[in-house]
Structure formats: structure tokens, C-alpha cells
Symmetry: C2
Subunit: 110 residues, 2 copies
């Protein structure tokens, strides 16, 4: 079993992680904002309105859970973000090779 939660992070790795984390979050939020702008412009009736409400409820819940900045969660968070396309592995360069290979491996099996 991979020792994901026991991995140590250096100060430099923390900085790389924070930058990557913030970048992915900004991208995902930006895409969501544009999606909502678009969806909302097409709302014509109450059913559309509540569909937007349901969509926002779901996205808010997902985002709140996904962007977990605790050190013990970062490997999993990054693999999910890479998997979903919000981040690419090259943007995590500078992390220890063991971390990068764990992230890459998780990305493939998730």
C-alpha cells in the first residue's frame, strides 16, 4: 500500500503545491462562472431556474469537498485534478519524484 498520508513535504514542495492548487481552483471556478453565465442567459421559466439552483447546489458541494488543502489529502487532490484536466503533471514539477509517480499512478486507476 502506498504511504500517501505519511509523506513529508518540504517548504519548496509546499509552495509548488499551493501554486498548483490555486491554479486548478481558479481554472475550475472560471469555467463554472462561464457555464453559469451561459446557462442563466437561457433561463426562461421556473423549471430552468430550479435546474440552475440544483446545479449550483451540486457544484458547491463538490467544490467544497474536492479542494482539501490538508497535507494528508494533497496527493489524492492532485490526482483528481489531473484526472479531470484542471491541472497537468508538468505543473507539479519540483515535487519529489515519489510524489509525482504516486499522483500519476492514482490518476490512472481513479
Amino acid at each position: 500500500m502506498m504511504q500517501v498520508s505519511e509523506t513529508q513535504w518540504s517548504t519548496q514542495e509546499h509552495e509548488i503545491a499551493k501554486a498548483a492548487f490555486d491554479k486548478a481552483y481558479a481554472r475550475e471556478v472560471d469555467t463554472l462562472v462561464r457555464t453559469v453565465n451561459q446557462q442563466a442567459s437561457e433561463i426562461n421559466n421556473i423549471a430552468d431556474l430550479w435546474r440552475l439552483h440544483d446545479f449550483l447546489s451540486a457544484r458547491r458541494h463538490t467544490l467544497d469537498g474536492k479542494y482539501d488543502a490538508r497535507e494528508s489529502a494533497l496527493i489524492f487532490v492532485f490526482s483528481e485534478l489531473v484526472k479531470e484536466g484542471w491541472l497537468n503533471l508538468a505543473e507539479l514539477e519540483g515535487l519529489a519524484p515519489a510524489k509525482l509517480s504516486k499522483i500519476a499512478a492514482l490518476t490512472r486507476i481513479m
Copy 2:
């Protein structure tokens, strides 16, 4: 005390009530749709997005509670709709004078 809940409604009054009820609902929903179209076009960031979500949650809750079509609730519902401007008293013409005066009285004290 006014005997609001024991008031009888004729078939004709039911038709008038239903038409007025539907008209007020359509107006309020139409205004809400236009408000959301407008608000959503001005969303630029995550705070704006969650503010829209909170707004929709609140409006959905309010609308679900307000449009209570049970006979026992109609006098109160109409007085609220008149008070808020979604309906005017003239649109309830044809209801028994006792109902109209109850609605008008409630509108003043609410």
C-alpha cells in the same frame, strides 16, 4: 376574530381564485427569471456564484411556502400577493364582498 378558514367558496369563486393565483405566480416567476438573468450576467467570481446560489435557495423556499392553493389558505395568500404587488384587488373581483374586505383588511395590517 375573522372566520377566515371556515369561509365557503363557490365554483365561480374557485375559478376567479385560480386565475388570480396563476396570474400572480406567473408575474412573480417572470420577475425572478429576469432578475436571475441579470444577476447571472454579472457573475465574475466564486463569491458572486455562491451569492446567486443563496439567493435562489431563499427564493425557492419562499415561493414553495407562499403559493399555497389550499382553500383555507387563500385569503391569506391573496392578501400577501396584493401587499407585495403581484396582484391588485380589482383582479379578485367576483369574490364575495366579505372575502374581498377580509383580503383588503389583511393587506393593511400585514
